[in-house]
Amino acid sequence: MISANLSAVFYLISGVLFILALRGLSSPETSRQGNFFGILGMVIAITVTFLTIGNFSSGFLYVIVFLLIGGLLGAFIAYKIPMTAMPELVAGFHSLVGLAAVFVAISAYLNPEAFNLGSPGNIKLLSLIEMSIGAAIGAITFSGSIIAFLKLQGIMSGSPITFKGQHPLNALILISIIVLIYLLCSTQSSNLFWILLAVSFLIGFLLIIPIGGADMPVVISMLNSYSGWAAAGIGFTLENTALIITGALVGSSGAILSYIMCKGMNRSFFNVILGGFGATDQSTVSQNKEQKPVKSGNAEDAAFLMKNASSVIIVPGYGMAVAQAQHALREMVDTLKKNDIKVSYAIHPVAGRMPGHMNVLLAEANVPYDEVFELEEINNDFANADVAFVIGANDVTNPVAKTDPQSPIYGMPVLDVEKCKSVLFVKRSLSPGYAGIDNDLFYKENTLMLFADAKKMTEDITKNL
């Protein structure tokens, strides 16, 4: 058994290692080392906990058993999961953090002596406040993440579920949570603790159902943030520095990612949270544009255009991931490069279903990361490029965001694809994208539509090069 002071120092060390783990992600070269720091921090935290308790009785054996069950399951999932399913995986993991926080809070509430928090029915006031806040946020994270998971997985429809009086109801429940925490702390009644948990589960569910599929990047980031605050709340209860530091890091990380995602869509955070986007706009759009002429071509035309180009910019979107076309795309690019054509990739902040999703998919297809550029880095290059190859993206290239103040996506930063000499647009049909808006790009002089499955079209073009 080691002293409380010594263990506090070790928890501090593991907190610092977690900071370094995130710091490592500032560039791909240092990122692997960062991940190692993270693992080291976790090993230190767990080891120190065992040593501090110093109780290696029969309970210890069970701890190891449960640890291994979870660990094996986690490792199995990590190796099996396809990269296209990362958003679902992350949402699922958030729900587990939330539920773990709830469980720890429950056991601390039932057995406060083990945590030095007082006795049942007479828990220290401050600890009870911290504990109930941690448990409430944990419960919201859990049920919210479950809904996000179901929506991403397609088990639940991605369209927003709204009903009358939704916002007043949510506001009422949120107020009741605060009242419940107050009553719980003044009466110490265990009934109130269970009601608090039940109501928190309910609000997590209600908060996420009105949010549409296209807004999932914001939702995942937001739940990431919640899971951090829940951990921090429990960290205060346990008086554990590592947990407090980590909770604060994760909380601010998720908040920043939500902000970046909102900015990428030019929407305020509240606008996203209040939901309903995607379903409401459909009635007002696609009225008079049906009859416009569209130039469509085949793989040979596309191959011809690209062969005569000196620079090509690829604009991938979620459709590419759905069609599993990333490997075929890489092969096409390899062929282009053999012909001395300069190729780069342009990625919009909200391409894909979570922050950075497209980058991971391209990396999986062995695309070197120094050929992949963010919107601000590459947007000026479109004017000098010969061909833009849009594959599976739509709304993020729509020039209407710059020209039409009436459009629901007006003001959203978009890739200036239309400035290219010619645009190749791989798409199944002329149907509008997630935002439900017609894309002016389809009808431009210099646009050639390639109506086909993204993977098949890419392979055909490669054959014709």
């Binding site: 991940n35 993270g38 309970g59 399951l73 773990a100 057995n111 960290g235 980590t246 390899d334 991971v360």
Partner: protein
């Protein structure tokens, strides 16, 4: 007068939010997905509380309600720890630089 230890914890918390703010802004956007999976893994350091809860039972009754919740939380957090770090590792291994000589 003595300062309540809570204030020290609060100081750590507030300062860590600021550290988090600056560190996360410096994360390159192409690594935002690994950032989410690694934050997932590290927030599961909550396992520390779960272990305390799991070991709280006396030697003759390992399973009381409180420690059962502890054991369950250990498994949940362990899924995240192993899953989170390994999947991050898997993703990061894919980020390679352009090979100058080959192809």
């Amino acid at each position: 007068m003595e300062i309540d230890p809570f204030i020290f914890r609060l100081s750590i918390f507030i300062l860590s939010i600021f550290i988090g703010y600056y560190v996360v802004w410096s994360v390159t956007p192409s690594l935002h997905t690994p950032l989410m999976s690694v934050t997932n893994a590290i927030s599961s350091v909550i396992i520390v509380g779960a272990i305390i809860a799991g070991l709280a039972g006396s030697s003759d009754s390992v399973f009381n309600v409180s420690s059962i919740f502890g054991f369950l939380a250990i498994s949940l957090a362990a899924i995240n720890i192993f899953g989170g770090f390994l999947v991050t590792q898997r993703m990061l291994a894919m980020y390679k630089k352009k090979k100058k000589d080959k192809k």
